[in-house]
Amino acid sequence: MDSKYVLLIIAVIIIISAYLVFNPGNQYERLQIAGSTSVQPVIEKLAEKYQETHPNVRINVQGGGSGLGIRTVEQGIVNMGMSSKALNPDEKDGLNEYVIGRDGIIIAVNNENSISNLTSEQIRNLFSGEVTNWNQIGGSDEEVHVVVRESGSGTLQSFQDIIMGSTKIRKDAIVQSSTESVKQAVKQDPGAIGFISLVNMDNSVKAITVNGITPSEQSVANGSYLLQRPFELLIKGEPTGISKDFLDYVMSPEGQAIIQNQKVVPANQLKQ
């Protein structure tokens, strides 16, 4: 065949498929959600299930961080924001927060580390740099390497509020840009300590009991485990239409069961 015709046919196919991709009829209602990467997997799962029963709805879930979620929902770019921390008063600005569940933050150390319990004060001293060797708190002779998340991360913010208070985290702490890379860093370094979300926990690192309480879904649910933070959906003004419908679904027993499957403690099980 003449190459000109081949090109023409390819061009036509591309144009038609692009049309199908970008304009699949206008019968769909769209819901845009963006924000915290910690909340994202839970919402994606919920969206997937929701769309099974609502074939005329398309939900687009995008990561980018709690800050991005707060900013974009405030500016009306998306219908809903996701946040993995409670909003500061100056962030509220007409936003309604809906707590869909609570997540624990795990203090993780290397599997070789002999220490298995820390008090919140010891954790504070480790992260502030007051304790620089594990033998100062009864561990083996190993330098402490602190791994944290980047400034602005919801997980870091919650950790700072709950454990550190006004104390600063040591300046030379290694910064990793995701929970997964914090876990990798702790997994391979016998001296490392970091914090990760309960959702991402597996046996590649060791979870420290804090003040004698083991982090688990139960201890998060009954409020006894100290390090926990809310997973929230943010909506500007009152929820209407599809936003309200999806929010109702998330809060329904069915939605809450899906949240629980993702190792997040659903809102209906929290001790008020």
Partner: protein, 291 residues
């Protein structure tokens, strides 16, 4: 008549595409500067550039540690990559037999095709533990980042400088050999000096990739916004600073990240000017043209 119209259309079409790339660059510059300048103004331009603390939560936006970090990583990477890749390019262009070159070339080009996140993950899983065991500390360091970058910029420098070496006219080589020079003397004194402008271009391209690389560096450099005391200390590059914090930043912090982009932009401009200066200075003029 038909030919004239076709000629006219193609000419204008090319002009429009060329102009649009200039316009796009200008728009990007205007955007970065308009987003970034407010933070510089409110924080103080000198304080922004020469400030030594970056701590957005307490309102400190000094980017000097990141400038040092970026330049340090890039400089080290070039230090490793340039000798390695030039020797490799000379080998491939002049010494290697044809069959060997046929194998080497695609292998090196494959290195260029590997996505940077793969390099970063490899660094995080393999290189960081090795560095920690060998040199102590956390393993996240300036050196680790520059080793990863070295591998990433090798293919760029090798293939561009190999092309430069190959484009030297055959007569030069023949003339040199004819007056009794050995093969190595010919390479050293004739082919290599004649190819220098092309080789400088190759190094500029490699440097550009090294300074702009973000993801791989984030994963292995440790991202501590502090002056490194040695090459085994963690550092944060300018690009990493933007990528790490952009998702969360609001208000002046957001603007300060664009300020970081302005600094990066200016650094790249300065490096390009320096490199271009050497590029033209080293050009050998022959008759009406140059090599």
């Amino acid at each position: 008549m038909k030919d004239n119209i076709e000629e006219f259309l193609i000419e204008k079409g090319l002009l429009i595409t060329a102009l649009s790339s200039i316009i796009i660059i200008l728009l990007i510059i205007i955007f970065i500067f308009s987003e970034g300048l407010p933070s510089m103004e409110s924080y103080g331009f000198l304080k922004f550039i020469f400030g030594t603390t970056w701590d957005p939560s307490s309102g400190d936006y000094g980017v000097l540690p990141m400038i040092v970090g970026s330049l340090g990583i890039t400089g080290l990477a070039l230090l490793f990559a340039v000798p390695l890749s030039l020797l490799c390019a000379i080998f491939m262009a002049e010494i290697a037999p044809k069959t060997m070159r046929k194998i080497l070339k695609p292998v090196i080009e494959t290195l260029a095709g590997i996505p940077s996140v793969v390099y970063g993950f490899f660094g995080l899983i393999v290189l960081v533990p090795i560095m920690r065991v060998q040199f102590g500390g956390t393993g996240f360091s300036m050196l680790t980042a520059s080793i990863i970058l070295t591998v990433m910029i090798l293919p760029t420098i090798i293939s561009v400088s190999e092309d430069a070496l190959r484009s030297i006219p055959q007569e030069y080589k023949e003339a040199s050999l004819a007056v009794g020079a050995t093969h190595w003397q010919t390479i050293k004194n004739v082919i290599f000096p004649a190819a220098i402008p092309g080789i400088i271009t190759a190094i500029i391209l490699g440097m550009g990739r090294a300074i702009g690389e973000t993801l791989a560096v984030i994963m292995v450099a440790g991202n501590v916004a502090q002056f490194p005391n040695s090459i085994f200390d963690p550092v944060r590059a300018l690009t990493s600073n933007i990528a790490i914090e952009m998702g969360y930043a609001t208000g002046i912090h957001y603007s300060a990240l664009f300020g970081t982009a302005i600094v990066l932009f200016i650094i790249i401009m300065i490096l390009l000017v320096i490199a271009n200066y050497f590029h033209y200075k080293k050009k050998i003029t022959i008759g009406g043209g140059y090599l």
